[in-house]
Structure formats: C-alpha cells, structure tokens
Symmetry: C2
Subunit: 473 residues, 2 copies
C-alpha cells in the first residue's frame, strides 16, 4: 500500500499530528481568528447532521420532545446548586456588556443547561399529570478550555442535552439507563465504536449528579475517549430549585431528574478509532457519501454504465460521481482521505470485460464485479464494511485491555503499553488519586458485570469493586 496523501503524518510516528492532519486534509474543520473554536466545514457538518438525524429519531421514538432554552445563564441562577457551580464556574465565558451598557448582573454562556431546565420545570410541573417531562435540546455550549483540539476539546461544543423529570426514582433510573442504551447501540451499530459502558466513581461523576454513567471508547493510541454520559440526579437539583408536584395521593412531592448528552466529540472518536495513514475511514452508516464513482475516462459508455448502476441503488445510498477535471489518481487519493466507504472505478478496459472495480476504503482491497451485479455487491459490501470495521475495532480494543494485579508491576507495564487496565479497588478516593498522580491514569468506569474478589491494587485492603483505569482525551 503506497501512501497516497503525503500531507498526512504517519500515525505511528506522531499520532497527535496525524489527527490534526486528517481533520484538515479531509476538510472536516478549519481554523479562524476565534481562538479555541473551530469552523465545521460542509463535510464535517454532514457527519454531524447524520448523527443528529439518527439520534433525534431514537429520542422521539422514546417519547422525547425538543425544546430551546436561552443560551445565557444569569450568575445567580448558576449559583443555585452548589456542587454544580463549583464544577462549571471556572470554565465559563462571561457576558458583561450589552451594546454600550454594563449588565446589572453578568451572565455566562451555558456550559450545560441543568439550571435553565430546572427553573422552567419549576414553572410547568404542578401535578403528577405533568410527569414525566422528557425534553431534549440540540444546541451549542461553551466551556473555556485552555488547550483545545478539534472535536475533542473545544471552547464551543455542538451537542444534545436531554433533561427529564419523573414521578419516581425507579422511573428516573430507568430513563438514565434507557438513554445510555440508546447511545451504546448507536455508537456500536452506527459508528462502529466498541464502547465500554459503566458507572463513574464518586470522584469522576458529573457536578451535581447522584450517578453518572459513561461510554468509554478506546482510540488507536491506547487513550480513552469519554464519548457520552447519562446522569441520574435523584432529587438533588429539584430540591435546590424547589420543584414540587401534587401526587395522586394529594401530597406534595419532589420529582426525580436525569440528564444525558453526546456531542461532536463522537466525530473525534470515529477518526481516532478507524482512521489510517491514508486519512479518514468512515463507517458506511454515518458516511455523508457512501459510494464514489470515478470514471477513468470521460467516455459516454463509462458514464452510461455509472448511471445504470446508480439507478439500481436504493435512495438512502448517497453517492457521488466525481466528474471533476482532476486526474483519476488524485480522485482516488481524495476519496481515501475523505474516508468514503466504497470507491467504484469505471474504465474502458474493465468495461471490455463488462466489469467495474470496487475498492473498499477500510482494507483498500479491490474486487472486479460484473456491471449487472455491481449495485447488489455495493449493498452487500457496505454491510460487510460496517461489520468488519466494528469487529476490527473491537479486537484492537480488547488487545488494549490489560489486567493490573500488582501495583508496581502495573506501573512498569504502563511504560511499555497504553490502554485500559482492569484493577481491584477498595473504593477509597485516596487510592484513585494516588494512581492518577503517579501514573496519569484516571478511573474510567466501574466494571459492573465482573465479580469483585481480592485486594485493592494500591492499599491492599479488601476490594469493593473492579474498575477500568485509563489515560484520557
């Protein structure tokens, strides 16, 4: 395999540089004079539109409605819930002036919207008949990060945030896990990302949450990416905001709350899980263009065959016919950099044998197929690519999960390899912090489907849970 695009750094030489090369060369983002923010270009935004379309349909199917809250939060409103403000105040952007006038009270651009939803819920929830409230919002949030990277950590983040209120704690817990499951299925089946799913430790949970569940993806370089969270708040915020409803038994009660969100960060996850030295590799189900047809010559017969094939494709298979005046070689490279799942080369020599050439982006394998079979083979191949991409990512991810049994031994291992380490843990935040300080590994999530036996890897006390630890983006 020759490297077609020389502008992309080898990912084994400098993974960080490889990443920024890919997002630039695949036309996903561009920079501007607005430090820490990015421009999402048409090709990148089309991926986000696909994400939105698929997830929004899932949200609506499960009874959720979209709303739009203000983008500003007055300082006093942010201050209502103490843990929450402590978590977010250091990283918000403050608006202090409107036109030429200083504001009486400064406002931040929302870093997340719990307090706005709570204030609204206090006004509209009066009776058990008003519950549940299942709201979602697609919007931009702002967190004033010091160091930023496209999609992974930026000052402006495009995301969705679900905020729901329930009559009982059971119902709210069910909702928390229902949305986590929707995220998990989406990331596995559509984005081909084999995510670990579990609960965060006390130290790592969301500011104000009772429980935080997370989806942890594993990148090519062995570093974890938190790719979505779902929170159970209990009555925490509802009490701080004085939200009460009259239940069927005629007593005033406090409702139970959840919130859940995923963002454009998932696009970073796709890039760093599937990409290679030729550029982006997109799973067919999320690719804005699933098939690109490249005529080797601008021949009438060639173009006729292409339209013969495209006519037989179902309408949801988006394709592009590249008739630009660039050379075929350039077009191949461009299709590869942009990660288009299948490239179809149509040339006169192949047509003499009544054949066209299909090239898989994920493996770069070529196959010749009869023109009459091409559209069926494209459909078949798209499914196969989707499945193969997941299987390969899963295999690679599993090879990056290590057992940590002895602390000193593990620290040595960590110098040789990066990934998730599974360890026994006593539940003490001191041990969690010691690991972080000494190795840079943070707890990613609690492993809930494995029995805990043995001693804490740090202090040697009886372990209460098994956790994954990892480095993180």
């Amino acid at each position: 395999m020759t490297k077609l695009v020389s502008k992309i750094t080898d990912r084994d030489v400098d993974f960080a540089k490889w990443y920024t090369d890919v997002v630039r060369e695949a036309d996903l983002v561009a920079y501007s004079s607005v430090k820490g923010s990015m421009i999402i270009r048409p090709y990148g935004y089309a991926i986000w539109e696909n994400i939105q379309r698929i997830l929004d349909a899932e949200f609506k199917k499960t009874g959720h409605e979209n709303v739009q809250m203000p983008m500003f939060i007055p300082e006093s409103l942010l201050n209502v819930e103490k843990e929450h403000v402590k978590g977010f105040a250091p990283e918000v952007a403050w608006v202090t002036h409107g036109g030429n006038d200083k504001l009486e009270e400064r406002m931040c651009v929302r870093p997340t919207s719990e307090v706005l939803f709570c204030e609204h819920y206090k006004n509209i929830i009066k009776s058990y008949r008003d519950l549940p409230k299942l709201y979602n919002q697609w919007c931009t949030i702002v967190r004033w990060e010091k160091t930023t990277r496209p999609f992974l950590r930026s000052r402006e983040i495009l995301w969705q945030e679900g905020h729901t209120m329930h009559r009982t704690s059971e119902e709210a817990r069910e909702e928390t896990l229902r949305m986590l499951k929707i995220y998990e299925n989406f990331q596995r089946n559509v984005l081909a990302l084999p995510v670990l799913v579990g609960r965060k430790t006390e130290k790592e949970k969301f500011a104000g949450a009772e429980e935080t569940y997370t989806l942890e993806a594993m990148m090519y370089d062995g570093v974890a990416l938190q790719n979505g969270t779902s929170h159970y708040f209990g009555k925490h915020f509802a009490e701080a905001f004085g939200i009460r409803f009259l239940d069927e038994d005629n007593t005033l009660k406090v409702p139970y709350q959840t919130s859940w969100g995923v963002s454009t960060r998932m696009i970073g996850g796709i890039i760093m899980t599937h990409g290679d030295n030729h550029g982006l590799v997109l799973p067919p189900k999320i690719a804005p263009i699933k098939v690109v047809f490249i005529p080797i010559s601008q021949d009438e017969e060639v173009l006729k065959v292409i339209s013969q094939i495209t006519e037989n494709l179902p309408s949801d298979i988006s394709y592009k016919i590249d008739q630009s005046d660039k050379s075929p070689g350039f077009k191949f490279a461009e299709a590869e950099v942009k990660g288009i799942p299948i490239r179809v080369e149509v040339g006169k020599r192949d047509l003499e044998k009544d054949e066209v050439t299909l090239v898989r982006r994920d493996t770069l394998e070529k196959e010749s197929v009869k023109v009459a079979d091409a559209s069926d083979e494209i459909l078949h191949l798209l499914e196969k690519i989707q499945q193969d991409m997941y299987d390969r990512a899963l295999k690679r991810r599993d090879e990056m999960i290590f057992e940590g049994t002895d602390y000193e031994e593990m620290k040595k291992q960590m110098k040789e390899k990066t990934g998730f380490f599974k360890i026994n843990w006593c539940g003490d935040v001191a041990c969690e912090e010691k690991i972080k300080d000494e190795t840079g590994y943070k707890s990613r999530c609690i492993i809930e489907d494995e029995k805990t036996t043995g001693k804490c890897i740090v202090c040697g006390k009886e372990a209460t849970s098994r956790i994954y630890i990892g480095k993180q983006y």
Copy 2:
C-alpha cells in the same frame, strides 16, 4: 361562536395582549429569568423543526451546504467592514472574561456572521475552481434589544444565514433573487402568508449591502412584519477582507457575495396573520399535528373507528388521538387554542349513523362524513384549509393597501386606518425621513412592478420610484 378559552384577550380590544396570550396559552413559549430571551416549548419548537426541514431541503436542492462557524467574533474582526460594525456594534453582547481571566480582546456573540464567513472564504477561495461557495448555517444569533416580544424581537434569535461567493456579479445577483424566491414560495405556499417582495431603499438596507431585498408580511392589526431578507453585497466585504481568486484568464479578481436569512420571527408572522380569538390557527403544511381525534367516549367501538380512519392516512399526515382524562369540551378548546387544522369528533351517536364530525379550525365549520370517507375528506379538507387561509389572508392584506396621493390627506387617513400606503417618492432620504418622523411610517420596499409617474408625495419633485410605507414590528 362562543369563545372557548377565556384566557385569551379579544384581538380587537388589545392586539398586543392577544398576541402574548396566544403564545402562552398555545404553549409556544415560556419566560425565564434570562431577560429578553425566551424558552421555545415543544409545540413551538416543532413548528420551527418543520420550517427547518422544508427550507433545508430547498437549500440543498439548490446546491447549498451547511456549515458551522464560531459563535464569537473578536472585536477587531467585527471592525473590518466599517458600515457593518456601525450597524451592529451598538446591539451586541460582549464576552469579556473566560473563567476567571479577563480576555486580551473582548468578543461579541455573533449578531450575524458575514465577517466570520469572509475570514474563512479568504482562506479557502484561491481559484475560480473554488467558486461558487454556497454555504448556509442554522444557528442562534444575539442582538441586544431593549424591548422584546416573543418571536418578533428577542435577544436570542434562531435563524439560518446563507453566505455565498461567486465569480461574477451576475451570478451573485441571480443567487440573491433565487433565495428570495425560495423564501417567497415557502411563505406563500407553506405558511400561507401573502408577502410583498421588493427592494429596500438605501436608508433601510442591511449594513454593508449594496442591495437588500425583503419579504414584507401584513399582520391583522395593519402593522408590517419584515419576514426575511436577501442581500447582494457586490465586492464590498470581499474587498475589505482582501479575498482574491485567480480567474481562468490568469488574473486576480475579487469575488461577489450574497447573504440571506429567515428566522423564528416567521412564527410570529403566522400567529398574527392567521390567529383569532380562539387562539392559534396553523396552516396545515406547517402544523406539527394536522389532525386531532377526540373520542367523545372511551368506547371500544369509538377507538376502533379512529384507528380505522388513521390507518388510511398517508404517513406524512401527523395526527394525535387525545385519550387524556379531560372532558371533550376541554379537549375541543385545547385543539382550538393550539390551532390544529382539523378536529375529528367521534361519538356513539354519530357512529349510529356511521358518521364522524370534522371541524375546521380556520372557520370552525362542522361537517358530518361517513366513516368510510373520513380519511379522504381529511386529506381534501387539509388542502382546502391551506388554500382558504392564504386566500383570506391575501384579501385582508389587499384591503389594507391604500394609495397615498396627497401628503396631508394621507396623514389624516393614517389616523383612521393602518396598513401599507403606496406613494410616489423622489428618492431623497430627507423625504423618507420626514414621513417617518411625522407619521411613524417607514419605507417597507420599492414597488418594482409599477410604473412611476407623478410627483413625490412629500416634496413635489419628480418621483423616481413608487414605494410601500408602513408601520413595522
């Protein structure tokens, strides 16, 4: 017709109060502690989602791509184009701090994004092969208005802004008018709004534009609503930003630019054009729920008939079956307040005659139809309602267009009636300002399809154009 919802003020008594009553009682918006911003509730947001879906498809059909620019604009970037900054600087929100740190340069939240697009275009347009660039953005903008009203004038506005670059002035002018036409067709055919379409005067055009075209709708109270604009910029911004491309003839040239936008303001236009004393009246093509079925009793037979009818409806006809435990009378009122185009009442007495009752929201007329004919009649009625709503709005609008021939006479007329006045005008801004100062009427647009003969209504000099003047929201 009895007034079912007593919470709505009579629109002939206090139109402003009627408006805020309707947006509240129809659950379109709610208020929060964020002054000047509104919460768009699920029912209101569903209207916006329909607007987005239909317009976005039109934009894509005409070759436009969606992007996402930063939401902030550094002060120095806003300052690049002089007229533009003069127009917007007094009404922007300034971010001065990120977390605890004062920013080196303050940034405003975008009031519109011309300068951000120009900066990006400067980086990506190098050759005539890079043209045209046809970008659009769906986002929220901020303008620090002193007095605000839901949908009509608020500090945060949900909108779309198209920004395009072209090789020639002809092509850019064509684009300006193409998008204006898309807006016009959408507003007429989908929103049932009979808009006047024309060019703005020099005084009223967009800050930095060479030509601004506008869509002017007429509200029930005789006050105009500017419901969308399309601008031709010429080389104005491109020169200020130093954008150059190498043309086919090997010389460096400056490209020509357009921008165009519509916003949630259109929802205000729908309300104030079609609404009545019972609440909202939605044109079928934009209604989130087109048909509501109300079982008069929770009878098995009744529910069977309803599902028999709904099964025969095409999948794009959204409907709701109101099985809540409220009384039928309450459900009728709720369907009316929310402006659902057709209400289907299904009761046992009607079913004895094998009939159900259809009630049109726009006229409140009832008709009995055989169960077997119901779904066909619903489809037919939806089309008829859409057309009738437009025809009625057009008739009412035309009755509010007056000829102004003598200035003093017109000023007297303006005390008795409100609407558009058509006048001859010499083109002098002094005359335009005199009218505004003395009557409160501003020029809405130039009437381009009527021949100009006669004298300026203000100064008596030879007229150069005919214009509409009107009061405005």
